[in-house]
């Protein structure tokens, strides 16, 4: 009903290939985009700064990782280290007086170069071994950041971002930072939706499905695997820099630790491997559910529905969160994107029961 297919006639091939051939989808995107644009006008600072803003930046990071994990099929358990390289590069460049726009570019390039080194392991192994290799690299990057005061910022290991401006607009106000994050997330989403239609994207998918078979049909796995790591690390590095400048505004090593890498992987997987909407939903889930659960549980306790010890109270969100991840994987291994897709397909033919596409 809502997704009315009736009256949609594709008379030209490029119409049929449009990103959203169904008008309802298009409307939905427009509404969501308009809501996101207007967010600073109807959200309080609390929700804008602590929910919407980090959600957008983490979604961008998730999309960067999805490019690698979902599209190219290369597992990466050290992506937080890549983002850390971006964040630290941008902050050091900005402190040297280099304009923020160039610092962002530098962050991307530094992250891409070192991130491509991570990819070296991918040329040799895959699957679990790649997980372990990237994990080990995460530890190495962490160690270097922690043990080189010139990088981490001396005794307190905290580097504050210098005042910066993007295209002459100062990043001091929350709204500006929100819009910058929004622009970046939208840019990445559009990039990601279109990359699957390029030869590059198709080559990555071929490698994901079977790298030997891809080699047989003339796709050089060496080149494309490295390119996948390079591209994904580039956007990951820029996302890391934005995370530092727009959200944290001070970097410490703990912000990019091993558990953050795991969170990123969880965002990709819970959202649904390889889908754009999954990137946004997964990032939202992993980032916001623990926060919401914590507030919910203490709200329940405060209103007398939950009388347990404060220790158990603090751990309840952790338990529920773990159980939710397990539950999602067991009941819908394809993630939140698939759940969304099921709902969409249901309404596509509603009130009838079976769908074709």
């Amino acid at each position: 009903m809502f997704y009315r297919m009736a009256g949609v006639y594709h008379t030209r091939y490029d119409r049929a290939r449009a990103l959203w051939p169904v008008p309802a989808d298009r409307w939905q995107i427009i509404v969501v985009f308009a809501l996101a644009l207007a967010a600073p006008f109807y959200l309080s600072d609390l929700y804008l700064g602590s929910y919407a803003l980090p959600w957008l930046i983490w979604s961008a990071a998730t999309l960067s990782l999805t490019l690698l994990m979902g599209l190219a099929g290369q597992l990466h358990f050290g992506f937080a280290a890549v983002m850390a390289i971006g964040a630290y590069t941008s902050i050091h460049l900005a402190r040297l007086g280099i304009p923020f726009e160039l610092a962002l570019l530098g962050a991307g390039i530094a992250a891409a170069l070192i991130g491509a080194l991570f990819g070296a392991a991918a040329l040799r192994v895959k699957g679990l071994y790649l997980v372990m290799a990237t994990l080990a690299m995460q530890y190495l990057v962490d160690w270097v950041i922690n043990n080189v005061p010139a990088i981490s910022g001396g005794a307190q290991a905290t580097l504050r971002t210098p005042p910066a401006s993007f295209l002459l607009v100062s990043l001091e106000s929350l709204e500006v930072r929100y819009y910058l994050a929004l622009v970046w997330a939208v840019l990445l989403a559009v990039f990601f939706m279109n990359i699957k239609r390029t030869s590059f994207g198709r080559a990555l998918v071929a490698i994901r499905d079977k790298d030997f078979a891809a080699a047989v049909i003339g796709i050089d796995p060496f080149r494309y695997k490295l390119l996948a790591f390079f591209t994904s690390s580039f956007v990951g590095g820029v996302s890391g820099a934005l995370l530092a400048f727009c959200y944290y505004r001070a970097v410490t090593p703990e912000q990019f630790g091993f558990n953050v890498s795991i969170q990123l992987v969880a965002m990709v997987l819970v959202g649904g491997l390889g889908s754009v909407i999954g990137g946004f939903l997964g990032a939202g889930f992993v980032l916001l559910v623990p926060i919401i659960l914590t507030n919910l549980v203490s709200g329940l306790a405060a209103s007398g529905f939950l009388t347990v010890s404060s220790n158990l109270l603090a751990h309840l969100p952790l338990m529920i969160y773990g159980a939710l991840i397990i539950g999602f994987l067991i009941f819908e291994p394809l993630g939140l994107a698939k759940i969304y897709d099921n709902i969409r397909k249901y309404f596509l033919v509603w009130p009838f029961r079976h769908s074709r596409s």
């Binding site: 372990m132 290799a133 530890y139 160690w143 491997l273 969100p317």
Partner: protein, 292 residues
Amino acid sequence: MSYFVELVINGALTGLMYSLVAIGFVLIYKSAGVPNLAQGAVVMTAAYVVWLLASLGLPIIVAIVLGTVLMFGFGLLTERLLLRRMVGQPVIMIVMLTLGLEILLRGIGPGLLGAAPKSLDLGIGLGPVIIGDVFINRAYLVGGVVALALIGAALMFFQTRLGIKLRAVSDDHVSSWAVGISVERAVGISWGIAGISSVAAGVLWGSVQGVDWTLSTLLFPAVAVAILGGIDSIWGVLIGGLLVGILGSVIPGYLDAVVGGGTRDVVTSLIILLTIMIRPYGIFGREDIERI
């Protein structure tokens, strides 16, 4: 010289302590092909279970035996309720599931029993075993002996009728079904045995550092042990444990003073990386041959 010997011996014992954690990881990977990244949290759970039983007034030996039974059941249940539903899913989904399990366990243990570290006293004396100028850590000595015994038991177990079945299952699920081996049961049993080994690891590590959630961080060195030795090899756990322990003790022992920082994690990471780059299947592991 005695410094070097001491580093080697204590390193080797530490490595065997890591092997205790690694052995469960390897058993599950060998039989089911599941990389159980929750093994550290399972070790933590085992330590909590034994601590709980001991704090109910049971003698520590009884608590350990009872804990072993409970953890065997825990392993069986985990496999039956969670992992079996994931058969046929890509490895990354299974990895994520075990990570979810880790989060869940880390909530349940400290949440229900209290987050402050608990003490687990095994009655192992604190005084070192002194040979010349070499001090050997007594708790680690006990741990090393237990690890050796467990590895030996595992090796012998794989010669029994049930063990041969498990080996068949680890070779090929479909052919095992074809000759009438219950793959489900074999996989379940290997989870149970991994639960048992986690009691040994949890109790020994718990007695050294106290029982709290940090026990679950033992996963990382254990994975290094498993990767180096070969992720599906019991011998590999032994040799990998000794190598990771000795390298992780000797190299920092000389390098830390020069670098001015704890380099052990770097050594462990480099061991993983180099192994994967040079010989991904480890020292004793079986090389996978991939067909198109």
